[in-house]
């Protein structure tokens, strides 16, 4: 009896973990999609929808390959004063910005 209870407990615990992991993965998936969308359409209004450049420079993987992550991170977070590149820190969290840098490294699909 005791054993079955233990097993049940363990099972339900595992189930809980799986469920919450799943939910977590789901949430970040959604956020990931939102960030892709933001990059394409809202950053895209200056950098081009395919990030090939517009008023702002191209943000293609290749065009950014010589720029360190920190530079991209700080540019997005704080903007570039004196140019149209705005600071995004009011709208995007640090982890959002890190995800964006990662997307830029891998390229928009």
């Amino acid at each position: 009896m005791l054993k079955t209870g233990n097993i049940l407990q363990t099972l339900s615990f595992i189930l809980l973990v799986i469920l919450s992991l799943n939910r977590y993965a789901h949430a970040s998936d959604n956020r990931q999609q939102e960030l892709q969308h933001l990059l394409k359409h809202d950053c895209g209004s200056c950098h081009g929808m395919t990030l090939k450049g517009g008023l702002g420079p191209a943000l293609l993987t290749d065009s950014l390959k010589d720029k360190p992550d920190e530079l991209l991170f700080i540019t997005i977070k704080e903007g570039r004063p004196g140019t149209p590149m705005p600071a995004w820190k009011k709208l995007l969290s640090d982890s959002d910005i890190k995800s964006i840098v990662k997307i830029l490294r891998e390229g928009l699909n």
């Binding site: 209004s45 200056c46 929808m49 517009g54 140019t83 149209p84 705005p86 709208l91």
Partner: protein, 387 residues
């Protein structure tokens, strides 16, 4: 044989009339930016007539019309220039004229199409009939560098006017003699001109500046007076807010003796008097992008930058009060009025919809589906200076 001839001609005539003759005055094109196509619509019955595919990258695309309002010239982001026959509902010509372009204009006489390019920076002018290149004007400034060009418009006297974003210049190109274009350059007009407009009478060219406050104005009747700075306080101001999208200058209008225009970064629509002095700032929902006048100038309709772009506000130009706030949905990118203003069409990008709204009752009259719609362009633009 003599008896048969009239019979044949009657048959031919009836064949012709069954071809369904129509005008183009109530037609328009809607950009479906993500999939490189345009939708042909008509605003008498508010319906979609056709989809025309194969136009490349249409982010930030815009359209001008031939003076017979039969052909639309679509300027794509990828440097594509596409001529569309709205009667036959098809592409008649398409050229890739640069790597990266931002918009264009048609000349006063309708014979020339000018395109503004980011890469390589400059303006190219084409024969509107054949799309053959007539003149290439690289925007060369210091050390042979080429600037991105912005705010290209047409003006009376076969002029094209545009700004050089990287070079702080405005150039006026006189195309009266296509063999010998005359270019007048104005230097040090202000940092980062990002867009331009010409007043509806074609007299004043005004450039928005991103790098400093104020606007650069050129009186096209008196080029000798040079570029002057107006509205010194116009701009980001002391408390510089991040600007998430460049405001557009197109659509500003004088309403009586007032002019309404979007503030940069601030949640305000500014009101200027005839002498370009600010008389009021109207608090609005977000950073304004387009401030567009209904054709009778009684109302101004305003849309906003991300993340507040689900909202539209309507300002009464007499009282300068907001008389209506609408929530059409996520990402309202553009608005276009029917020629006499009883309706306004708006694209709601993230909801894949174009709504037609009654400008008196604010009711949605019709909703059309469209794939990520952005700009809406009706053919009555054909007869307006600067559009």
């Amino acid at each position: 044989m003599k008896k048969i001839l009239p019979l044949i001609s009657i048959l031919l005539l009836s064949a012709c009339s069954s071809q369904n003759l129509r005008g183009t005055g109530d037609l328009g094109l809607i950009i479906e930016r993500a999939i490189g196509q345009v939708q042909l619509v008509e605003h008498t019955g508010n319906t979609s007539l056709a989809t025309i595919k194969g136009l490349g990258d249409l982010s930030h695309a815009s359209i001008v019309y031939s003076r017979d309002a039969r052909y639309g010239y679509v300027f794509g982001r990828d440097g594509g220039l596409t001529k569309i026959d709205v009667l036959q509902q098809k592409i008649v010509k398409r050229v890739i004229q640069s790597g990266n372009s931002i918009g264009g204009a048609i000349s006063q006489d309708g014979k020339l199409i000018a395109v503004s390019n980011y890469k390589p920076g400059g303006v190219k002018i084409f024969n509107s009939d054949t799309l053959e290149l007539i003149v290439n004007i690289p925007a060369v400034y210091a050390d042979g560098k080429q600037s991105k060009t912005v705010g290209l418009i047409d003006a009376p006297g076969q002029l094209f006017v545009f700004g050089l974003y990287d070079a702080s210049e405005i150039w006026v190109v006189d195309m009266k003699n296509i063999e010998k274009p005359v270019i007048t350059k104005f230097k040090d007009i202000g940092l980062f001109p990002y867009d331009g407009l010409v007043t509806p009478d074609g007299r004043y060219y005004i450039a928005g500046l991103f790098g400093e406050d104020g606007l650069a104005m050129l009186d096209l009747w008196h080029l000798e007076k040079g570029v002057i700075r107006i509205m010194d306080h116009y701009g980001k101001g002391k408390e510089k807010l991040p600007v998430y999208k460049m405001p557009h200058l197109e659509g500003w209008a004088m309403a009586g003796d007032k002019m309404l225009l979007p503030a940069v970064g601030h949640h305000e629509v500014l009101v200027m008097d005839k002498n370009w002095k600010q008389v009021k700032a109207i608090a609005v929902h977000g950073q304004p992008i387009f401030v567009m006048s209904r054709p009778d100038h009684r109302q101004m309709w305003v849309n906003f930058a991300h993340p507040r772009n689900d909202t539209i506000q309507v300002i009464d130009t007499e009282t300068l009060e907001i008389i209506k706030t609408l929530k059409p949905g996520k990402a309202v990118l553009h608005m276009e009025f029917s020629p006499r203003g009883e309706h306004v069409w708006m694209s709601v990008r993230d909801e894949n919809r174009v709504d037609v709204i009654d400008t008196e009752t604010f009711e949605v009259v019709k909703s059309l589906t469209a794939d990520k719609p952005s700009g809406i362009f009706f053919t009555n633009r054909a007869h307006k200076i600067g559009l």
